[in-house]
Subunit: 214 residues, 2 copies
């Protein structure tokens, strides 16, 4: 019974996600489901990335959190349309939450929609949000074993942005181990590295995003 | 229907957790549910902590992960009974998993049982495992806003161990902000800080654990 109910929920979510994806594609809006552990730097990366995008690329951000509107306030400061979703305990966003957030966003001329999921390396993987693709922000301070320990998440990503590399010398992190693990779980995922703190690697991330605009 | 099913699952889990708790108490075994984000340092803290405990304090560890037996192998190296649970996708341990792990542990003369949960700041909060109490390992590299952003988890902890403070000067982490947030969410939680990497704060953690033995 538990399994059936879960499968019904996922099916309903997938149908709604498909509607969202089609609507966004019609409007030529590319959307990225930004996922990662709590504190991996998802909001910080968006704060650094968005001001570096070409002025003509209009962006919006949906922020998903269990509680607080902290992340939306941070994004709003860079002058971008932002909508906060509080999941009130739920460990991931779902398509219904994203649909209601999209209704509050001015979509005309929008080119990019970032959907920052709840900080969690497990549950968000199962729920399609109508996104074009998925970006995982993984920080080196979490250790180099994360892809093999959280495979369900890492196998769904188009891009992994390895964050906080400014701390590389102060940790035991091995980029080779991380890369090897990621390749095993998801050979197609691309990997970029940098730091939202000192801005390293941000230009490569900008290029990656711009190359995929519609 | 979704809600009813979830509430039935939680009720069945709570009953089983109560049985485990009573069995452990009869044997005067103290058990700690060790929780935290992926890569916060749960295993590293246990690796440092356990060898510092008095030789008479026999300990065992249950390791919960989605995949791999990496963490159990790390703990086994320090010469401690260890059992790995692979949740195969589930985002948290539950009491049934813990019961089956306990069946594989030699309980005679055991004083301490550490149950390392799946790295996740949301889902493990809802599932009692029969533990005496809960310890959250939170690392400063995750940022100082974690208690207010993940309140359901932080409000259930007896102790928060703030890890990776050796990186304090390389981050923007404010201990004052973290402490303020934690006090707001859970005024009774105790806070210790240190680093599994350089061993700082480990003696205080040992004392905290030893003071609570039965």
């Amino acid at each position: 019974m538990k399994v059936n109910v879960m499968s019904d929920i996922l099916k309903a979510n997938d149908l709604l996600a498909r509607d969202i994806r089609e609507m966004l594609e019609r409007r030529r809006i590319v959307s990225w489901n930004v996922m990662g552990s709590p504190g991996s730097g998802k909001t910080s990366v968006l704060e650094k990335l968005i001001p570096l995008l070409p002025r003509t690329v209009k962006s919006a951000v949906i922020e998903g959190d269990l509680a607080t509107s902290r992340d939306a306030e941070r994004i709003a400061k860079i002058g971008i349309q932002t909508t906060q979703i509080n999941t009130r305990g739920a460990c991931h966003l779902d398509a219904a939450m994203v649909r209601s957030a999209i209704e509050r966003i001015e979509l005309d001329n929008l080119k990019l929609l970032f959907i920052e999921n709840v900080g969690n390396l497990v549950c968000p993987a199962e729920f399609a949000l109508g996104e074009t693709g998925r970006i995982i922000v993984s920080s080196i301070t979490e250790g180099d074993d994360k892809p093999i320990k959280y495979p369900s998440m890492f196998k769904t990503a188009q891009l992994v942005f390895l964050n906080k590399i400014d701390l590389l010398e102060q940790t035991d992190f091995s980029t080779a181990n991380f890369t090897k693990g990621l390749k095993r779980i998801n050979p197609k995922a691309e990997l970029l590295e940098g730091s939202a703190r000192d801005g390293k690697g941000m230009n490569e991330l900008v290029k990656w995003i711009v190359d995929r605009l519609l």
